[in-house]
């Protein structure tokens, strides 16, 4: 309901409505644009172009998807085209060679009655102080690990975990099945986990 009112204000040329939208979705759009762009400057251009495309198309917005899904799809398609990727997401089979284990096999016992069980326990971060978990050292590692993720994993991780979108909205935007979305999330979360495990 609030979304429909905002769209109506935007259509009527209400600048405050535009600023509200940019404030609400600008960060997510820029994070997405950074996935496909060779530089921050290009990513900022992609975001600007997206908003202009949104204004041109807003009369045709029917509310079948949420506004953020609709806007994000405009961005993802434009950014993928610009990067020379197919606008539609790549088929799962094309992701090949991506079935790496979540945890390095060296962590597990290889034989004996307890094969497949931990050889040594990972660190339980539940006692880690919040200020350390959210501090600069771990933050920089997380940001670095995200930047290194393969594109499909990074798309899912950014939307699901960084932006906190529900899984079904992520799969809708990226046009992948919920199961595939979770596989990509699984790989991504474990890559980021491995990047910070020594700091936990």
């Amino acid at each position: 309901v609030g979304e429909r009112a905002l769209v109506a204000r935007l259509r009527s040329g209400d600048e405050a409505a535009f600023r509200e939208l940019v404030a609400a979705h600008g960060s997510a759009l820029l994070r997405l644009a950074l996935i496909y762009s060779p530089s921050r400057a290009v990513a900022e251009e992609v975001v600007q172009e997206t908003w202009i495309a949104v204004l041109r198309a807003i009369d045709g917005f029917e509310g079948r998807a949420s506004l953020r899904t609709w806007i994000s799809r405009i961005l993802v398609n434009a950014a993928r085209r610009r990067a020379g990727l197919e606008a539609r997401s790549v088929p799962f089979s094309a992701l090949g060679g991506d079935d790496e284990p979540a945890v390095d096999p060296a962590w597990f016992q290889r034989e004996g009655p307890h094969a497949g069980h931990w050889a040594r326990f990972p660190v339980d971060p539940s006692t880690l102080p919040e200020e350390r978990l959210l501090g600069a050292e771990i933050r920089e590692r997380v940001q670095g690990a995200i930047a290194e993720l393969r594109t499909p994993q990074r798309e899912v991780f950014v939307l699901r975990d960084v932006e906190g979108w529900p899984g079904h909205e992520v799969s809708e935007l990226l046009e992948i099945t919920p199961g595939h979305q979770r596989v990509l999330l699984h790989r991504a979360r474990n890559r980021v986990r491995r990047a910070i495990e020594d700091l936990l």
């Binding site: 040329g13 900022e44 326990f121 990972p122 995200i146 936990l200």
Partner: protein, 80 residues
């Protein structure tokens, strides 16, 4: 009852945290978790990743880019 190896559990962890496991598999996994400190810790690490990810600072356009955007909006609004 508990025939789940830790190495198998870690591959089910995201399905579990996302609420996508069937009832039987979830019960099996939770039974394992109830007595395995290693797997419990592993799940804690995944939750820590999510916590750190959601706390990342917002990204923002540069001031110049934002100004250009507002100018583009005004031109659009004026042109109808």
């Amino acid at each position: 009852m508990d025939d789940l190896a830790c190495q198998e559990l870690v591959e089910l962890a995201t399905e579990y945290l996302e609420g996508a496991l069937g009832a039987e598999q979830r019960a099996r996994l939770e039974h394992h978790l109830s007595h395995c400190d290693g797997c419990h810790a592993h799940l804690g690490q995944l939750r820590a990743v999510v916590r750190a990810a959601e706390a990342l600072p917002e990204e923002r356009l540069s001031v110049a880019a934002e100004d250009e955007l507002v100018a583009a909006f005004r031109a659009w609004a004026a042109g109808g």
